[in-house]
């Protein structure tokens, strides 16, 4: 007769063998609602320290950024290139920095800068995210001043 302990062993073993392998254990999510969020906007004056502070904070929760899509668009018929440094920061310091190119010549690309992250970037509870764009290089910086960078951020809320 198959005893209870054997049933337990069987069930437990099935769970053992069927447990998915996870490279990165995830944060705890207990938001009480769908934890997914997103926000879009723009950073004006992108070559001279333009900033944006998208509202993604929820009290008692970290906001984890998993997706970042940066598009830019100033382009004219001259062969000017504008390279930017885009920084994501909070009061605690820098979270991420990226080089973004905002014009195309024969040596650059118009492609958006977009990334999807498996773990993401954690914006701690109670801190405000700030995006700051500064000029990094141009062969004619005066042509870059009017550039606006557009952003779309997406992520989810998780327990701190």
């Amino acid at each position: 007769m198959l005893r209870l302990s054997k049933y337990a062993a069987l069930v437990g073993s099935v769970a053992l063998l069927g447990a998915p392998a996870l490279a990165i254990p995830g944060p705890t999510v207990s938001y009480g609602a769908n934890p997914v969020w997103s926000v879009g906007g723009d950073v004006g004056n992108a070559y001279a320290g333009g900033t944006a502070s998208p509202s993604i904070s929820v009290a008692g929760q970290d906001a984890v950024i998993t997706d970042l899509v940066i598009t830019h668009g100033r382009y004219d018929y001259y062969e000017f290139a504008c390279f930017y440094l885009l920084e994501l920061s909070t009061s605690s310091g820098t979270l991420a920095k990226y080089y973004v190119q905002a014009e195309s010549g024969s040596w650059t690309s118009l492609a958006p800068f977009s990334i999807s992250m498996r773990s993401g970037i954690r914006v701690p509870d109670g801190e405000t995210l700030t995006l700051t764009a500064t000029g990094e290089y141009s062969n004619n910086s005066s042509r870059c001043l009017a550039t606006t960078i557009h952003y779309t951020l997406s992520g989810y809320y998780a327990e701190p």
Partner: protein
């Protein structure tokens, strides 16, 4: 006497109860039908893509924007925004296209097509509509897709 099967039960159960949650927990789906939703076409100045029902939200997972409309020397420029009927901008994209490949001195060309699949997504709250707005002089085609999810 503590038998071998008891040990097996204990060890197996430990694994069963300690199984980690996946890295990024997905929202629950119990739509009772195919939960996928999508919209596509050529962007006009404003169009409603879809409306979330009163009991479900929609999570946009894929955004594809392709752009054209340049003329020689003069690129086109457009901005596409995804705005909920509640007034929140949940996506914003700046697009350009140009072709000056015939310029012997500085041949250059390109488009800033957006092709992105979101790990998390862009949530459209229950009962709200998603508007795609377009400003600028490019011709922009869009495909936006996602799924219904529990709030």
């Amino acid at each position: 006497m503590f038998r071998l099967s008891n040990y097996a039960a204990m060890i197996g159960s430990c694994f069963m109860f300690s199984a980690a949650a996946s890295a990024i927990p997905g929202p629950s789906i119990s739509y009772g039908a195919n939960p996928v939703v999508s919209a596509g076409g050529e962007a006009s100045s404003s169009q409603t893509l879809f409306t979330a029902p009163s009991s479900q939200l929609i999570v946009v997972t894929d955004v594809v924007l392709t752009v054209s409309g340049y003329s020689n020397y003069d690129p086109c420029r457009s901005v596409i925004s995804l705005i909920t009927s509640g007034g929140d901008t949940i996506g914003s994209f700046r697009l350009v296209a140009m072709d000056d490949s015939g310029n012997n001195s500085y041949p250059r060309w390109g488009t800033s097509n957006v092709v992105h699949s979101f790990v998390s997504g862009l949530p459209l709250p229950i009962g709200e509509s998603l508007e795609l707005t377009h400003s600028g002089d490019c011709s922009v085609n869009y495909t936006i897709s996602g799924y219904y999810a529990e709030p």
